[in-house]
Point group: C2
Chain length 416, copies 2
C-alpha cells in the first residue's frame, strides 16, 4: 500500500514510516517542522539528537535501501494539501500533523487559538482534499483517550447503546476533554465522523493512550532515532520522571498522583496503526479504536521509574507539587479496548522493560538533558489565562548552550 | 444591568438590544457587519431595508430616547476583544457574533474553515478576555438545537443521567450535528463548558430552535426593523416558503419534508435571552437551555404557509425537490425544555399569527423580493465539496438592481 503520513518528522510519525517501510509499504511524508520550532520556543530540545529530514531520508536510503517521498508544507494551506493528495493518491493517510501538547495549548489565548483553529483547519483540509482527489483512501486520524475525560462509567470505543426514558439508540460516547488541545481532538472527531457520513469516506479514529518508549525494532542506527521530549510542555509525565531521576532531581507526580490514564508502548502503537492501515473500514464507515494496553496512575509511573532508577544505582526521591492542571485526582477509569485485538493486535512490550531502555538511552544523552535541566518543572497552570511570563522567567539568567550541529553518532545497536 | 451584545447588527442581536433597553438595561454592542457582506456575497439582501448602524443608533436616540454604545470590530482580533471588555466591564455578554448559516458553511472548503475556525476563535477570545477583565460577568452563548441532531431518544437539556454497564454518571448529552456550522456550535459548547470549569466563569449555553418572525413589540418604527433573510443560504425554510408564496413560486420543502425541528418566535427568544441575563448562574456553573416552543415538520411549515397564503387570496402550490442536505427525513424528535419555564418563561406568540405578520411585511417589501427572486432555490448540496460554481450560475445573466440607498420610510405602526 501507499501510505501518506502527515507529521512524518514527529515522535510517532518517524518510527511509523520506518515500520511501514519494513513491512513493504510505500511511504510518503508531509511536515512543516513546526514541532522542532515550538520545542525551541519553550527553551527545550529533543533528548535524542535528531538529524535534519534530508539526512533522515539519506539514512533510510543507506541503511534500509528504501526511499521516503516527502512534501514540505503546511496543512493549513489548502492548495498544498490538495496538490499532495492529487499527486500522491495514497491508499491510506495517517494524520499525525497536529499540535499535540496539552500544556502548550494552555500557555495563553494565542496558543489556545493556534492549537484549536490550526488542528481543525488541517483536518478539514485533508477531508476536502480526500473527497476531491482520493475518495477511496482511508483516513487514520490520531485522536486521544483524553477526549473522553474520566467519566464514572466504562468508556466504550466511540459509540454506545443507551436506554433513556424508555427508548434506545446507539450514540457517540460523550466527550469531556481536559485542555484546549484535548478539545481540539474532540472537534476533529466530530468533523471526521460527519465527513464520513456525507461523503462516504473511510475513517478510523484512534483514541490513543499516552505513548511511552524511545525505540522500535526498526531504529537500528542512531541516525534513525526518533525525537524524545522531556520538558513540561512537550514531554509526558513518564518522560519527565525518568529525566528527573537521571538528573538527580525529585520525581514529581502532580497533586495526589492518582490520575489514571491508558498507556501504550511506541512500538505497539506502530503495530496498531499498521493494523488499522492494512484493514480499512468500508466506505462511509467511521470506526473508533481505543488504542492502549494498560491503565496506570501517575504514582505507579513514578514508582516504576524510582524502582528502575534504584536498580541503576541512582537515589531517586518522589515529591508531589501542587497540580498545575485542573483535573480529577481520584476517579474511576475503565475504558474498553477490544477492536484492535479483533484485528490481531497483541501487546509486545512491558512497561518496566521500556523504562529500562529509556534510562539507557537517556544516560547516553545525559549532557543534552543537563543543558536543559530547567525545562522539566511545571510553569503552565490551567487556572491562569497567561503563562508566558512564567515560561520566560524559568529560563536561567544565562541562556543554555545552543544545540550543537548534530553529527551522525557512531553506530549503536538497540537492545530491542 | 449592563449587557454587551456581540453581533448587535444581526437578526436577533438588534431586537435584543431594543428589548433590553425597553426593560431598563444598558446596552453596548459589537459588530463587524460581516453578515451584511456575506449576504451580498451570495447575491441576496434583507427583505426589510436595514439602515446603517449609525442610523440605527440615531433612530433609537430619537424614538426611544436611549443610547446604544457600540464598538466596531472583529472578535477574531484578541486586542479588540480585550479592549472592549476591559473598557465596558459588562454584567452579561450575549454572544451572537457567529457565522450562523449551515448552507453557507457547506459552500466549499474555505467557507467550512472560515465558519469553524472563525466561530471558535471569537468564542475563545471572549472567554479569555472575560477571565482577564470581567470574571464576574455572565456569558450567554447562542448555540442551536441542531447540535443534538435527531437521536432516537428524548433530548435532555445539555446533560443526562445514564446507567451504563452497572454504573451511573451525569454526562453531556452526545452531539451529532448536521453541517460544519452546526459542528462549530458543538465546539463552542465544549470550550465554554471547559472554561467555566477551569476559570469558574458563569455561563448559559442556549440550544435555540429555529427562529421565526419579523417583528417584536419594540419595533415601533420602520427605522427599527431587523433584517429578514430569505435566500437559500441565509433564510430559514419558513422564510423561504413565505417568500415563495408571495412571489407565486412553488413552496419547496426539501425531500420528504418530515424533518422535524424545534421553533421559537423572535419575540419569545428575546424574552428567553432576557430571562437568562436577569437570572445568572453561579460562578463555575455551566447550564444549558433548550430554547424552543414547539416542534414542527417542514411539511407542517409548508402547510401553514399555504393556508395563510390562500387566506390572502394567493394560489400557493407545494413541490418537493430532492433534498440538498444529508439528513434523516423521518425520525423521532422529542427534546425536553423545562429550564426556561422555571425562570418564568411563557410563550406569547402562535406560529400562524406570526406567519400572517410576516406575510404583511413581505407584501409591503415585495419589490425587494422580486429583485432577488433567483436566490430562493437551493444550490448548495451537502454531498458536493465545492458549490461555488452552482452559486454563481444561478445568478441571472443580468445583474439584479443594486440596493437603493435606504431612506427612512414613513412611520408605520406594527400590529403587534
Amino acid at each position: 500500500m501507499k501510505v501518506l503520513i502527515t507529521g512524518i518528522d514527529g515522535y510517532s510519525g518517524w518510527p511509523l514510516a520506518l515500520h511501514l517501510l519494513a513491512r513493504g509499504h510505500a511511504v510518503v511524508g508531509v511536515d512543516n517542522f513546526v514541532t522542532r520550532r515550538r520545542v525551541r520556543e519553550v527553551g527545550s530540545w529533543s533528548a535524542t539528537p535528531i538529524p535534519s529530514f534530508a539526512r533522515r531520508q539519506a539514512a533510510v536510503r543507506e541503511i534500509l535501501g528504501k526511499e521516503i517521498g516527502f512534501h514540505r508544507g503546511d496543512l493549513e494551506r489548502y492548495d498544498f494539501v490538495r496538490h499532495v493528495l492529487a499527486t500522491e493518491r495514497p491508499d491510506a493517510i495517517v494524520h499525525l500533523a497536529e499540535q499535540r501538547s496539552a500544556p502548550y495549548s494552555m500557555i495563553d489565548v494565542h496558543h489556545a487559538v493556534r492549537t484549536q483553529a490550526g488542528n481543525l483547519t488541517g483536518t478539514l483540509h485533508l477531508l476536502y482534499a480526500m473527497r476531491e482527489s482520493c475518495p477511496d483512501a482511508h483516513l487514520v486520524k490520531m485522536g486521544t483517550m483524553g477526549e473522553y475525560g474520566t467519566p464514572n462509567v466504562d468508556i466504550p470505543e466511540g459509540f454506545f447503546e443507551i436506554d433513556y426514558r424508555g427508548r434506545s439508540d446507539r450514540l457517540p460516547f460523550p466527550r469531556q476533554a481536559g485542555s484546549w488541545y484535548h478539545w481540539s481532538k474532540v472537534f476533529d472527531s466530530g468533523d471526521v465522523m460527519f465527513a464520513s457520513r456525507i461523503w462516504k469516506l473511510k475513517a478510523t479514529d484512534v483514541m490513543q493512550g499516552v505513548l511511552y518508549g524511545i525505540r522500535t525494532p526498526e531504529i537500528t542506527d542512531p541516525r534513525l532515532l526518533t525525537r524524545f521530549d522531556f520538558d513540561e510542555t512537550w514531554g509526558t509525565a513518564l518522560n519527565r520522571f525518568i529525566v528527573q531521576a537521571v538528573l538527580g532531581l525529585p520525581i514529581t507526580p502532580y497533586g495526589k498522583g492518582d490520575q489514571k490514564r491508558g498507556f501504550i508502548a511506541l512500538e505497539d502503537s506502530m503495530q496498531s496503526l499498521r493494523l488499522a492501515v492494512e484493514n480499512p473500514p468500508d466506505h462511509g464507515e467511521y470506526r473508533v479504536f481505543n488504542q492502549f494496553d494498560a491503565a496506570y496512575t501517575v504514582n505507579e509511573l513514578a514508582d516504576v521509574t524510582a524502582r528502575i532508577a534504584t536498580e541503576r544505582g541512582l537515589h531517586p526521591t518522589i515529591e508531589h507539587p501542587p497540580n498545575p492542571r485542573i483535573e480529577a485526582e481520584q476517579h474511576y477509569y475503565a475504558p474498553i479496548h477490544d477492536h484492535l485485538a479483533r484485528l490481531g493486535y497483541r501487546r509486545t512490550r512491558a512497561l518496566p522493560d521500556v523504562v529500562r531502555e529509556i534510562f539507557r538511552d537517556l544516560t547516553r544523552y545525559r549532557r543534552r538533558l543537563e543543558a536543559r535541566r530547567h525545562v522539566v518543572q511545571p510553569t503552565v497552570r490551567w487556572a491562569s489565562g497567561d503563562n508566558r511570563e512564567e515560561l520566560r522567567s524559568r529560563r536561567p539568567a544565562e541562556a543554555p548552550p545552543e544545540p550543537a550541529p548534530v553529527a551522525p553518532p557512531a553506530p549503536e545497536r538497540t537492545s530491542a
